[in-house]
Amino acid sequence: MADMVKFTIDGKEVEAPAGELLVDAAKRIGINIPVFCSHPKLDPLGACRMCLVEVEGRRGRQLVTSCTTPVSEGLVVYYDSERARAARAGTLELLLINHPLDCPICDKGGECPLQDQAMEHGNGESHFVEEKHHKNKRYPISDWIMLDQERCVVCWRCIRYLDEWEDKPQLGLYHRGGETVIDIAPGHPLDAKTSGNIVEMCPVGALTSRVSRFSYRPWELSHTDSLCTHCALGCNVRVDTRLNQVKRLLARENPAVNDQWLCDKGRFAFGYMQHESRLTQPLLRKNGTLQPASWEEALDAVTAKLVEASKQPQRVAAIGSAKVSNEANYLLQKFFRQYVHSNNIDFRHGSDIATAGRGIPSIAEFEKADLFVLFGVDMAENIPVLDLFLKRAVNRRHAKVLLINSRRVEDSRYGTLLQPAPGEEVLLLNGLSAALLKDEAIAKRAGRLSGYKAWLADMVSEPTAKLNLSESDFGGAVAMLRRAQRPLFLYGEAVAGGKSGAANVTALTNLALLLGAVDRVGYLPYDANAQGARDMGVLPDRLPGQIVLSDASAVSRLQRQWGGTVPAEPGLTYLGMLQAAAQGELDFLYVMGSDPAAEGMSEALQKVGFLVVSDLFLTETAKLADVVLPAADYVESDGTFTNLERRVQRAPKAVRAPGRAAPDWLILTHLAQRWPVVEEIKDPKRKKRGHGRTPNIWSYASPQDVLQEIARVVPMYAGLTWDALGDAGQQWPAEALPLRPRLQSVTLPTLSRRSFTHWLIAERVLYDAGQLFATTEQGHNLIMAPAVHINSHDLATASLAVGQEIQVTSPHGSVRLPLLVDENVSPGTLFVPLGLAGAPAEQLLDGQYGPVPARIEAVA
């Protein structure tokens, strides 16, 4: 607790912690000193002079800026004195000299601090009658943001945000005096991934969003407190709608999640919500083509096929989605377990990913950790807002960063990067462990694990030589790890998936164990509800609550809740299903909000007996389907999502779904109500059977009903209700899913390049060509063009030229791509981003991440 001091404002005595800024202390007692440049998240500057107050000093009463003056004992402040009022009115008059006063056409008009303060503190009339300065209006500084230099009051908030948080100072002050303008360096538009935050921070209408430009006036909007579902962080947003259309998304402050930031994808890429290509009615395959049908027809067709197929439940499968709500995922697995008796339930990045299923320890950990070990994670591309917290930790708390990645990523500038070749990550991690074990304290902590130690020492004798790493980098990394008091280990799907995923994660866990930080190992998933889908039991071997199928008491408890029996045998994983499909072993596949066909799985899906897809768009998978069900987006239905720190948050309905699209929970409820068992139960002549034998009838009237059941069934979600979730959500404690980690030897994955010359790595990028992003027109230029990234050294060896079309071949496919020199890619590897137009990377992969061997050849 900081020392408290007493001071007075306008005669009122105030107590505040010493060093608190005057403007903040005044706010707490209800005096709102007007500000422009001052912002709670930015360092004090004192640029706009709007917050002038009088302070008793040694030389009498002086005007000071309250946003830069810390309170001290006995300070005497006059806010409402004549001189202070006149000073503020004068400042406003000066700020308005060159302001164009085009409020009627300004997007900020109606919620503009300059407008409000001019009304409250201004004189109403100006002494200045001269011609105003003319500067650039309608000046795009990036694909997202429009700058109007005339409206700017030069408060520097945008400059400071980009400098202090984003650490990409791409805006600067140009010229002098009354001609001062904010500008970008010529030819260098903003490319910061969270640049949209400056639009929200701008206290005037100088920075406006190009996506929602002129499409609303603030007073017309209805507000819904919701979430962003573009990534796993679950940033809190406010959805602003007008006449059933989403007009803009704003960050909603939640100190536990996104503070008050949003990334540009989350803020601007909402064009998909009301895009004309959304599905608006069910489609049914008749005579080989998909034709519009009624819901009755479509659901009857699905039920008829499914009833028939369920006679062989092992030939029925369902793919859930980490992009849809907990409720939909819960009902999907319940339907298939309870009625169809199949455990063939999984989602992309589900059981094929090696993870403890607990996400990251907590987002707040970013404010405490002193070492971040980023293993196969590109935070700037995948979770830009979390990346802000990392940058903050590095720049403000001097936290260290150790990156283990086969490719240089943006965060490489903050620390040491160890670049193992694909497949050698385990060797590197074991090398680090072995080096750490030379430290006595650490060896002591490891205890009597002589077997492990001997195995380790045997395995990694000369890691630097084997891995082709510089001795100083490796030594630096070891020293970093040894010194760390509170390390945080993070790994991504790029290393946790694929053939070597399990080994990678075990090796990282071993390293964390040696440092006594095993509870600070976190997994960063890509999709919004990756954690929730796990918790809901959309896994072939786990029931809701991530309960293993062998847990008899939990299973019987679930059977009491559901009625009926739960199948005991683990089902097929996501990849297993697709492999089974390719073999023609699937009679029925239900795909909810997932698009395996876009990842080179069309051939397998064509062999599925009956394919049902529920999605927002006519995806590649939907094109192959027998029945396509139009689903509602998350803003069109109530639902809850669980983010990467296990925080359950709610996303209420903000707009109506287009046409006859319906939310997934409702679709599944309708399917369940058509199931023949329902008729059987309703039949009065039915013999009274033993309790728990017959599945219960579904009678959900709303997603809240489903959530109620989830709260009963899923132990971690016990007691959760829609109302109790509130605006901030609730986090379930990691201890609810206990870990029993111990040091274990890791079998080195056997990856071989065979006759291929390179390793191909594929990772997600923020601006991909997926429908959720590409449907926002303004983002089109930002979508990465399909290309294969290659190091200049490899380029020279292969005697190829930049921009040349080349043939990239892997054991799984072959595509033609232009070459792009990218020094971030290490020699011997090729990088192709995932999710680009034409899905080049997906065609080369075998359905999972992780490196695949590849070679490149010039096209003749």
Binding site: D102, P104, I105, G109, K137, R138, R213, F214, S215, R217, W219, E220
Partner: protein, 158 residues
Amino acid sequence: MSGLKELVESTQQLAQAMKITLKAAIEPPLTVESPVEPIAVYPRFRGRHELRRYENGMERCIGCALCEAACPTGAIHVEAAENTEEERHSPGERYAKVYEVNLLRCILCRDCVRACPTEAIILGRNYALANYHRQDFILTKEDLLNPPEPNVIIRVKE
């Protein structure tokens, strides 16, 4: 005698009545053959809405929606868009892509006119607002920009 008195009185009353009748009979008629003949309105008569243009043909309306905000009955609907070099509707950056007035809601209070920063919307003098279908009472931007010439005579202030 009462009979005579009655006769005189009734004749007087009849004459008085006939005087009014005959006077009205020779006066020109007060009724107007609307809409064939023009009607006389006061200068500040508030009739059907009109959107005005500048002399160079540009629309005055900038789509700021202040009229919509001011409207007490929610009769106005505005959707704005951005002018481009190829397609310019108004002098500034912004114009009204959609501008609709619902005459069934409008109470002709003139608040929209007062709210307008560019004096784009005015209440014209067209009073003949009857229609056969409800949807015809919604004036589109096209209707508002091209108002029919009202058949009126403006009264001179006495």
